[in-house]
Symmetry: C2
Subunit: 302 residues, 2 copies
DNA sequence: AGAATGGATAGGCATTGCCTATAGGACATC
DNA sequence: GATGTCCTATAGGCAATGCCTATCCATTCT
């Protein structure tokens, strides 16, 4: 039993004749005859009585007709549901962000996105990078905003660059180097360092910068967020390395750009390679890549 | 979009892989791949994400799956409804009978039929032959029990012989010929005749018998039923011609077989040629042809 | 690194759905 | 009652297509 047979059957039943139906459906009359015969054979019963040169539904045909119609209707419904679902920008998007980006980068983006697509339903997951990647693998998270490049083998993930931001030394207000236009990490050689806890990828970024300057930082405090670290810096307990977007106007704190040109953090949007994104998800990704330029220098003045 | 594509889609979604589904459905894996591609192309959206060497339903695929399942389920339901309807002996039968047969022939048949097939729903239409034929043409009546042969051109109807019954002269008890073993219509030449009204085909049967005997009957009364005529005969108002099945034990009436060997009435079951009969309808027809012998001589003793 | 697994691709074959032409009946009209 | 018309059924040919085997390519496990 095939859909076209059901279509033919309904057309014939509706029009009251093979020839009439043939004209309407733009199919030759013998084809209709043939397919109905096939259908009748498969069902083991006649659907039409051929009486003289007119036809009439048999009792069974009459019983079958509404079912055939329903099948065709449901088919169209299923098709248009898919088309609808694939064209309308609506539904859920789950975006993952690492903690060192989340509070600075995402809020304004989410606001504009929700305003642009009111039908969209964004949920945010804040986790460290490896957990986000796992959640992308299992399909829980659609897009992640993380520090790039990822050090995963192969092209398991696809990434879209967003911004690259400079790193700053965060110094107590009265520190000797606090008025400098820039500093090298070598100059901070003996300072006590306040860094993020292990697991936060920005810690690696900072440590890598130190390594380039052949400095082994003396780490005296670890935290999960920049604001705690900055409070400690203000209190004069040590120095730290902070990305541009985390700069905050603080009374006891001064930010000095690192002289090292490679001391930057690149941020990108990442998706699981091979995953098809829904329209909303695509729209969110587009929103990210399109509006990143604006946000780059927003809170540099802080 | 075709049923087999839906089947494949569901199989793959259920089994969680093309190869697994291929093994289950006894179709090669490339065929599945091919058909799913086709389906995806038609819908304009991916149904599965191919991630690494595993697959996962996309959001759309997840939405499509229950609809596909429902379509397949409804298809099977439609199929089995037809099969059920074409095999079970249940449902309506509409049987037509002419008035000169109905009261004598049908009641016992209906009783046994209903006992045999309790699921059957018999309705009876009592009309004169041409109206029954019309109702068969329009599909209102499924089988008719009438006097045969029909004088319709071509083989518009198909008829099944049931019984052939002798004709009797109905004479008042004290009539000169009432004790005879048989009579010819010629002997009733001058008698006043009581016959059925025009339209009843038995009238034609009787008139034809007269014509064969070169008798022009003097018709002094016409009625729609034999019982009225018999009452008149009892009252000595005239004579009549009656078929065997209409014989009734009446005090003032005597029945003498007509000598004319051709003075008979043949009764047959008739259906519209080319009409397919449901199982109940077929069963009723079979019941008619099978049980007619028993009824042939039932009320000859009356 | 090598083997195994899973999906995609290529090419060939058989099926089949559709077509045109025509047969065969039934109906209408002259 | 013969003829033309209007149906559906049948026959035969062609093109589309669904399925197959063989193979490729990437991933994953040992």
């Amino acid at each position: 039993m095939e859909f076209h047979q059901l279509r033919y059957f309904c057309a014939i039943a509706d029009s009251g004749g093979f020839s009439r139906a043939a004209r309407l459906t733009h199919v030759s009359q013998p084809s209709l005859s043939q397919q109905i015969h096939k259908l009748e054979e498969e069902l083991g019963a006649r659907l039409f009585d051929r009486i003289g040169r007119t036809i009439r539904l048999t009792e069974l045909g009459r019983a079958f007709l509404p079912r055939a119609r329903a099948l065709l209707f449901d088919l169209e419904a299923a098709r248009s549901a898919v088309v609808e679902g694939s064209t309308s920008i609506a539904g859920p998007v789950c975006v993952g962000v690492i903690p060192t980006i989340a509070p600075y980068f995402l809020p304004p983006l989410l606001a504009t996105f929700s305003r642009k697509y009111p039908q969209a339903h964004v949920t945010v997951v804040e986790e460290i990078t490896p957990l986000l990647l796992d959640r992308m693998r299992s399909g829980n998270v659609d897009v992640a905003v993380v520090a790039v490049p990822l050090q995963t083998r192969g092209h398991e993930f696809q990434s879209f660059p967003l911004i690259e931001e400079k790193l700053y030394a965060a110094l107590p207000k009265h520190h000797a180097l606090a008025k400098r236009r820039n500093v090298t990490l070598g100059e901070l050689h003996d300072e006590p360092f306040l860094l993020l806890r292990d697991g936060h990828c920005f810690r690696e970024t900072a440590v890598a910068a130190c390594k380039r300057a052949r400095v082994r930082p003396k780490i005296i405090f670890e935290s999960g967020q920049f604001s705690s670290i900055l409070s400690m810096v203000c209190a004069g307990l040590g120095v730290s390395i902070i990305p541009a977007m985390a700069l905050e106007k603080r009374p006891g704190c001064q930010f000095v750009p690192l002289a090292d040109g490679r001391a930057t953090r690149a941020i990108g949007a990442v998706t699981l390679h091979g995953r098809s994104l829904s329209r909303v998800q695509q729209a969110f990704l587009a929103h990210l890549t399109e509006t990143n330029i604006a946000t780059t220098s927003t809170n540099l003045e802080g």
